[in-house]
């Protein structure tokens, strides 16, 4: 068993070696970790609350006291960006996880069983996917009304079909592998097959997808908020901050640059990481 652990360790080391082959991936991971830590420690790091208003200090330029300046209501943008990250990241991650869990399971089951279930589901997804995702998200969140939950729901619903498609395709590939047949020949039950063979084997692809989807979800939520459909005041979601600050771009660029760059960095690190993981997991690209 010890040997097994060693082997696992070795595999992990190999994975990281491949992952860090490109300097940019290292950079991305560093950015991401710093962002996550800062966002997690927001209550500690942030010098002000995210909603500490003081009209008298509206639009203070960045200075020692207010690192990124203040907004129209005199709130400290640095603190708001930190707290906003909590919202953006947690929606991104939670929505992605839910969408992935549901999507993958649906896709795996429908790919595995085929038949009418598969047919119905795929037709449904055809319908959902025949609209641009952002339009679907807008339609959903406009129908359900504003708010964090509804925005998250819109993101989830738009992400599920893609996850399911992906999982289904993977399952179909794996299903035709001989080891699946071998498992069936040894009386493996469907659940065993899905959980022991199918899911672990599609995991790498899924992990990559998840990193990239987190980025996508954050973008979607930010876009919704930007259009006034997503997260509502006073929560400082980045897209909402951009939306509220966009009129002041010319006079007070820091009002939108701060959340904009935070958003950009987050998405950049996630995208690069996802890409790096994909490369690292792709056996064809080894060395």
């Amino acid at each position: 068993m010890n040997q097994k652990r060693n082997k696992t360790l070795l595999r992990i080391r190999e994975f990281f070696r491949l992952l860090f082959r490109k300097k940019i991936t290292v950079l991305a991971l560093a950015i991401f970790l710093v962002l996550v830590v800062m966002v997690l420690l927001a209550p500690v790091i942030a010098p002000y609350g995210y909603d500490d208003q003081d009209i008298s200090r509206a639009f203070t330029s960045p200075c020692r006291e207010f690192l990124f300046g203040t907004d129209k209501l005199g709130r400290d943008i640095f603190s708001r960006v930190l707290y906003g990250g909590r919202i953006s990241l947690s929606i991104g991650i939670i929505a992605t996880l839910i969408a992935s869990a549901v999507g993958i399971l649906l896709g795996a089951v429908s790919g595995y069983y085929g038949g009418w279930f598969d047919n119905v589901l795929m037709r449904l997804f055809d319908v959902l996917m025949s609209m641009p995702p952002i339009l679907l998200a807008i339609a959903i969140s406009a129908s359900l009304g504003n708010g964090i939950m509804n925005a998250a729901l819109a993101v989830i619903v738009t992400a599920i079909p893609m996850k399911a498609r992906l999982a289904r395709g993977q399952v179909l590939t794996i299903r035709s592998q001989e080891y699946m047949e071998a498992a069936i020949a040894t009386n493996a039950s469907t659940a065993q097959i899905i959980f022991r063979h199918v899911l672990p084997n599609i995991l790498p692809v899924i992990i990559v997808q998840i990193t990239l989807t987190v980025a996508g979800s954050i973008t979607t939520v930010a876009s919704l908020s930007y259009l006034g459909l997503g997260v509502q005041a006073p929560f400082p979601e980045w897209g909402a901050m951009l939306s509220a600050g966009r009129s002041y771009l010319k006079d007070y660029p820091y009002v939108i640059l701060a959340p904009g760059i935070a958003l950009l960095l987050t998405l950049f690190s996630l995208n690069v990481l996802g890409d790096g993981i994909r490369d690292a997991l792709d056996p064809r690209l080894k060395d």
């Binding site: 068993m1 040997q3 097994k4 082997k7 592998q177 001989e178 080891y179 047949e181 071998a182 498992a183 069936i184 020949a185 040894t186 009386n187 493996a188 039950s189 065993q192 022991r196 063979h197 672990p200 084997n201």
Partner: protein, 313 residues
């Protein structure tokens, strides 16, 4: 001898975009316990499909299968579970046939777990026992398949097949992917196990010399159909069907001056999709006549236990 497996008028058709594909078309044979049926034929002639249908990995289109005297053509779920403990399969590609994410012990453990062996220690013991049986050193327990060479992987696959103490194993080209030196190791292992465990094999291969080495009986298939069936010695000594003869003559012999009279066939195996009436081999047959293009020849006994499907003999 008791018939362990009997197959009658077995057919398996696939629906494909191009039409109905006759992968297995009216196959009959019976196989006694302890014997090995060698199945040879060109790529795509339905060998693997036949094996899979017998094992219920694919449902037959029509025909009947008996196993241990029982009709198993249609079985319930629970019967199938029991059946699968007794019938196993070894695939050609030892890489594709094991889950790349499982360690060797997990691979061998899988059938034990799936077939209700609950206790962990018991299973570990059994895995160790099986690994010893097939000659895999203990240190490979936690290796992943890709860390092993083909020969060892194939041993693990054999161990997995043996885990439920089956009586019958379909070996679907178990050595074609291996190098000659390794191939010999595995063939020897398969033969030893047969003796030790009184196993019955259906041994699929396109390598005639291997089939000849391991089988007691041989069935030559062409486009889903049996063209000749005989005891091994008999078949090699007196091949009757023109296809068998051509096949035998085409095998290059690793001996100096072994050059025999080659029967070179024209063309290649035709499409099994919606085959034309008549003998399937007729388009390539050097001896084909009018009748061959009209009727499918029936499988007839031409000598004791030697069956041939040809109008011309």
């Amino acid at each position: 001898m008791e018939n362990l497996l009997k197959v009658k008028q077995l057919k398996k058709y696939f629906d494909t975009p191009g039409g109905t594909l006759h992968a297995v078309d009216d196959i009959n044979f019976s196989l006694a316990a302890g014997e090995t049926l060698g199945v040879v034929g060109e790529s795509g002639c339905g060998k693997s499909t036949l094996g899979r249908v017998v094992l219920h990995l694919l449902e037959s289109t029509s025909g009947q299968i008996w196993f241990e005297g029982k009709d198993i053509t249609h079985v319930s779920r629970s019967e199938l579970r029991e059946l699968r403990k007794k019938m196993q399969i070894i695939f050609q590609d030892p890489y594709a046939s094991v889950d790349p994410r499982m360690t060797i012990s997990a691979v061998i453990d899988e059938p034990l777990r799936n077939n209700g062996m609950k206790s962990r220690s018991e299973r570990e013991e059994k895995v160790a026992e099986l690994m010893e049986l097939i000659g895999l050193a203990k240190r490979f327990t936690d290796y992943y398949p890709h860390e092993l060479d083909g020969g060892r992987r194939q041993r693990a696959v054999i161990a997995r097949a043996l885990a439920t103490n089956p009586r019958f194993i379909v070996c679907d080209e178990p050595v074609s992917a291996l190098d000659v030196s390794i191939q010999a190791q595995v063939i020897n292992l398969i033969m030893e196990l047969q003796e030790k465990l009184r196993l019955t094999y259906m041994f699929i291969s396109h390598d005639l010399s291997v089939v000849k080495y391991v089988s007691t009986h041989i069935m030559v298939m062409y486009l889903g159909q049996t063209v000749e069936y005989a005891e091994t010695g008999d078949l090699f000594a007196h091949p009757v069907h023109p296809y068998t003869q051509a096949l035998l003559s085409a095998v290059p012999i690793p001996k100096l001056g072994a050059q025999k009279q080659r029967i070179l066939l024209k063309g290649e195996i035709t499409s099994p999709i919606d085959p034309k009436p008549g003998c399937r081999f007729a388009p390539r047959c050097p001896r084909a006549c009018e009748q061959c293009h009209q009727e499918i020849p029936a499988l007839r006994e031409v000598a004791d236990g030697h069956m041939v499907a040809c109008h011309m003999v």
